[in-house]
């Protein structure tokens, strides 16, 4: 979907500076689902302003990796530090990190019993203790950013898939996160809706948001990412700048994966 990317010159995403400040650090992280070793010795450091795309065959542990960052999955060995706070069993730490880390899911996971506006204001009001009026203003601001302010009083079930995913992005942004995690945000969408979601993600990148995206949108990876990570069998096989990654993959498994995914 490289055509999904706005190539106008106003967006020199590639030239944007990456800060030296470390946002996420994973050291020797292992995880098992029962007997199944799903993450093997993951070492990853993410600086502020980085835009990382993680790709790889299904079952390679991509989603599990980013779900460990906000503790939707618990890692069993190694160390994960997010924004200076280490993820342990301490609920206080977990909730603190979750406040700063936004997540967008493959299946949107909007709250169907709440209107779009209430979906957006719920966490700011109940977690950040923002006054309702202020939370609503902020929600409208983000709905305008994702270009659907007119849907504020509808229910999620009344929106298209693309609109729902944009609401989900806005919902995360309402918490003013420092890091955004995207777990295959376009995989459940009809082709004509993928662009609107990718455009929203690109504009986020332009503002310098630290992002980690699990996605198969290679066009997005080429134009937005500053680093592409390839995973297979629970390991990080290869990571590189998109240019090098796509044109000169080093590992055989990467080459095979790229040939499969770019063939059609």
């Amino acid at each position: 979907m490289s055509d999904a990317v706005d190539t106008s010159p106003k967006t020199p995403i590639k030239e944007m500076k990456i800060s030296q400040e470390i946002m996420i650090q994973m050291q020797g992280v292992h995880k098992w689902f029962g007997q199944f070793h799903v993450l093997k010795d993951i070492n990853l450091t993410v600086n502020r302003g980085e835009r990382i795309v993680i790709c790889g065959p299904s079952g390679s542990g991509k989603s599990t990796l980013i779900r460990c960052i906000n503790r939707l999955e618990e890692h069993q060995q190694g160390k994960i530090v997010v924004e200076g706070t280490e993820l342990t069993n301490d609920l206080k730490h977990i909730e603190m990190i979750r406040r700063e880390v936004g997540m967008v899911f493959q299946h949107f996971n909007l709250f169907p019993h709440l209107s779009v506006l209430d979906n957006l204001t719920l966490a700011p009001i109940w977690v950040r203790k923002t006054p309702r009026r202020e939370a609503e203003q902020q929600a409208m601001h983000f709905l305008e950013r994702v270009k659907i302010p007119e849907q504020a009083h509808k229910y999620p079930g009344q929106l298209s898939g693309g609109q729902q995913q944009r609401v989900a992005i806005a919902r995360s942004l309402c918490m003013n996160p420092k890091i955004m995690l995207f777990d295959e945000p376009t995989s459940a969408l009809d082709p004509e809706m993928i662009k609107e979601v990718l455009d929203t993600m690109i504009s986020l990148a332009e503002e310098g948001m630290t992002m980690i995206c699990v996605t198969h949108e290679m066009g997005f990876a080429k134009t937005v990412a500053n680093r592409v990570i390839f995973m297979d069998g629970g390991e990080i096989i290869e990571e590189n700048e998109p240019e090098q990654f796509f044109n000169h993959p080093r590992h055989d498994r990467t080459k095979l994966f790229l040939s499969q995914i770019l063939a059609h």
Partner: protein, 386 residues
């Protein structure tokens, strides 16, 4: 070969020849035509619902015949041939129902043996309760949370004070004198009001990650669900006092209330658990990823959806509970049905069982039907199109 096949499958409209104009309108100029007359209105409804097939037509006719057989005799017994006026059994001379019986016993059926001069206390509570519930049920009124809190916290205290008395210059009325519909409503509303929150807690406990909480919840639910309510009531009224030290005595009604409450909450817990299980994992993950704590996630995201989903089951349990309150007559409490049976044993009024039971049944039906309708209304109102 191919041409032949196509030819064989071609459909010519010979029967429409002459009348059939293949292009009566230019594209884009088709007007909206009315639907055929036999698919709309009364005729359409009858065709679709009562006479759509030979079997359906047969069922309709059989149904009409059965109504014709049963309805006229029922109506003449209950209304046309019934005795409506009088004060003694001698006034009931016709073949129909003797509603005089109900009139005479009406006060006992409604209030039990509550003293006449104190009945205003019950009626006042009814009035406050009716206004409060009415206010909560009518949509779009302001300050509902406050009225709800009043009904759940202040009103029960007022009602308890009014019912039992003993303070503020109100003469005390012991619970042994409570009875009739009044007692039924007391038992049912206490059971309903306490069983839902208790049931929710038990359901959450049963799904908890903490083994001890889960074990306690499972044991509680399985114990109360596995025991008949009659046994529970007997235990509460006969066995329980045996285990109490000398001189400590809980009111019999209070013990029955506890039994009903715990019994109903076990059922409620399983209904709520069904709803919790139907909530997709993604809802939990979305709530967690936004930083919501366990109780906020449950209270704001999971339970509103889960409870909405199981409204039919919840109301089903409420209705079951409402009718199960009749079992308190086993331990010597005279609820509406108990009172109706007691009236039957009066030597001055022999043989009016039909009237007594029909009346009690009708009163129960009215309450249960109202709950059922309200739950259907609630389901429609809370439906947000997903």
């Amino acid at each position: 070969m191919t041409d032949k096949t196509v030819d064989a499958h071609r459909i010519d409209p010979p029967s429409l020849a002459g009348t059939y104009n293949p292009r009566p309108y230019e594209p884009g100029t088709h007007p909206d035509l009315p639907p055929p007359g036999n698919t709309i209105g009364l005729q359409g409804w009858l065709r679709q619902n009562l006479f759509s097939s030979p079997l359906n037509t047969l069922a309709t006719l059989v149904g009409l015949y059965l109504i014709w057989l049963t309805l006229p005799p029922l109506l003449s017994w209950a209304i046309f041939d019934a005795d409506w006026r009088g004060s003694t059994a001698e006034d009931c001379s016709s073949d129909g129902a003797c509603w005089v019986f109900i009139q005479t016993w009406f006060k006992q059926l409604m209030y039990g043996r509550y003293p006449d001069e104190e009945l205003w206390r019950i009626n006042l509570s009814y009035l406050i309760g009716a206004i409060g519930i009415g206010y909560l049920v009518i949509p779009d009124l302001p300050r509902k949370p406050w009225v709800g809190a009043f009904m759940l916290i202040v009103f029960p205290a007022i009602a308890l004070e009014l019912f039992t008395g003993g303070e503020f210059g109100l003469p005390a009325v012991e619970t042994a004198r409570w009875g009739g519909l009044f007692l039924t409503l007391v038992v049912a509303s206490v059971g309903i009001v306490f069983s839902l929150p208790l049931g929710v807690l038990l359901a959450l406990g049963r799904r908890s990650d903490m083994p001890i909480i889960r074990a306690i919840s499972v044991a509680f639910i399985e114990f109360w669900r596995g025991v008949p309510l009659i046994t529970v009531l007997f235990m509460a009224s006969v066995m329980f006092p045996l285990f109490m030290p000398e001189g400590v005595n809980f009111d019999k009604l209070l013990r029955a209330l506890f039994g009903v409450m715990l019994f109903a909450s076990a059922y409620m817990a399983e209904v709520v658990r069904g709803g919790l299980q139907a909530i997709p994992k993604g809802q939990y993950e979305a709530a967690e990823s936004l930083g919501l704590s366990y109780w906020k996630m449950m209270g704001l995201i999971i339970l509103p959806q889960a409870l909405k989903m199981v409204i039919p089951g919840i109301v089903n349990t409420f209705i079951g509970l409402f009718k199960d309150t009749t079992l308190v007559s086993i331990i010597g409490l005279f609820d509406l049905l108990g009172m109706a049976q007691a009236a039957l044993t009066n030597p001055d009024w022999p043989g009016y069982a039909a009237e007594s039971y029909v009346f009690a049944g009708l009163v129960f039906w009215v309450f249960c039907f109202a709950m059922s309708r309200y739950s259907q209304y609630l389901e429609r109102k809370l439906h947000t199109g997903h």
